[in-house]
Symmetry: C2
Subunit: 205 residues, 2 copies
């Protein structure tokens, strides 16, 4: 009753239904992620996020004192999930499954937002975001790649000493490099090349 | 005579000896590169460059209308040379020679300046700088790597079908990835790993 009376007395200030607590927070974080993935880190403003979430700037600042704090929570809530890789019967099929899922994550809304903050923020801020990505995405991805490699060792398709960290870095490194230097999105064809021309020769016994 | 009289009438405005044409231009470009490698793209100002080059802001603006034009010329004039690789008798030695030279270039003044502009400038500006790096450094480096690989094919150390573009991208990709995600400079030890754990197994017949 209190809420509906209050809303009724402020018809012009309150276009969207009044939301509180977790619901409003979720709307703000969603808006922040959407802004990051479209206008980037430098285009992100507290005003823009408030407006996109149909709330006031004060409601945003009350919860997040800075753009960095807001972006951190928005990204943390949306880190791309690192997929389980089912046993598809061969190293090649397992690797292709994984790299194609990695590509999807890279071009998802949260993937674009993550790259925007890392590419555009200043050195110190970028360092915080890189740490978040390393813990939340890079390390879990590395573990997943090594799982696939070890499964290949079990099948006799992979030499047993090919399970070093540097081997697990090859796929994400090529994806980052080609996306940065190639001037275009990585295609599925590029990833088939990565598997067939690099990973399979590198791993075979 | 005109010059010395002019200098004599402006003693307070002219601390450094009056330089003209190519000498002054060189001093400005050197100062711009130094600023890029220390304060980065965002810290670079026309005022700062003028002051470091001991000249006036007008002298800088007369030659370069914008920060981007100045940085482009400064970087173009200082692109790290891609080294010739002497035949050291084995694929491993040739590769180690090349990757260690690449690391030197990466941490040289112009390497630091190049990474600053690519990492910090906005998307469109970064795109122009990336194109410069691709043409001036990435492509020549790729050719050098493929030369080393083909020499290995000639020696029987490398399978003949390992001369694709994607294979030549592996070393620079790992160097960029580890430098970006590792939070520290790439060490010589990292590069020995790249050669021994990735390139040699990938290339062998």
């Amino acid at each position: 009753m209190v809420m509906s009376r209050k809303a009724a007395t402020e018809p012009s200030k309150q276009v969207a239904p009044r939301r509180r607590g977790p619901v409003l927070e979720r709307a703000i974080l969603t808006a922040a992620l959407e802004q990051l993935s479209t206008v980037g880190w430098r285009g992100l403003t507290m005003e823009g996020v408030a407006s996109a979430a149909q709330t006031g700037k004060a409601a945003v600042y009350r919860r997040w004192p800075s753009k960095q704090a807001l972006a951190t929570d928005a990204l943390q809530a949306a880190l791309p999930a690192v997929p389980d890789v089912p046993d598809l019967g061969s190293l090649r099929e397992d690797l292709l499954f994984l790299v194609l899922r990695m590509r999807e994550a890279m071009y998802s809304q949260s993937g674009l937002a993550l790259r925007a903050v890392i590419d555009e923020s200043d050195h110190e801020t970028a360092h915080c975001f890189v740490r978040m990505v390393v813990e939340g995405v890079v390390e879990p991805t590395k573990h997943r790649i090594l799982e696939v490699v070890r499964r290949g060792v079990g099948r006799g398709e992979v030499r047993p000493d090919a399970t070093g960290d540097i081997v697990a870095d090859v796929v994400p490194a090529l994806m980052m490099y080609r996306s940065k230097m190639g001037g275009r999105e990585i295609s599925e064809h590029d990833l088939v090349e990565v598997v067939d021309q690099v990973m399979l020769p590198l791993l075979r016994p």
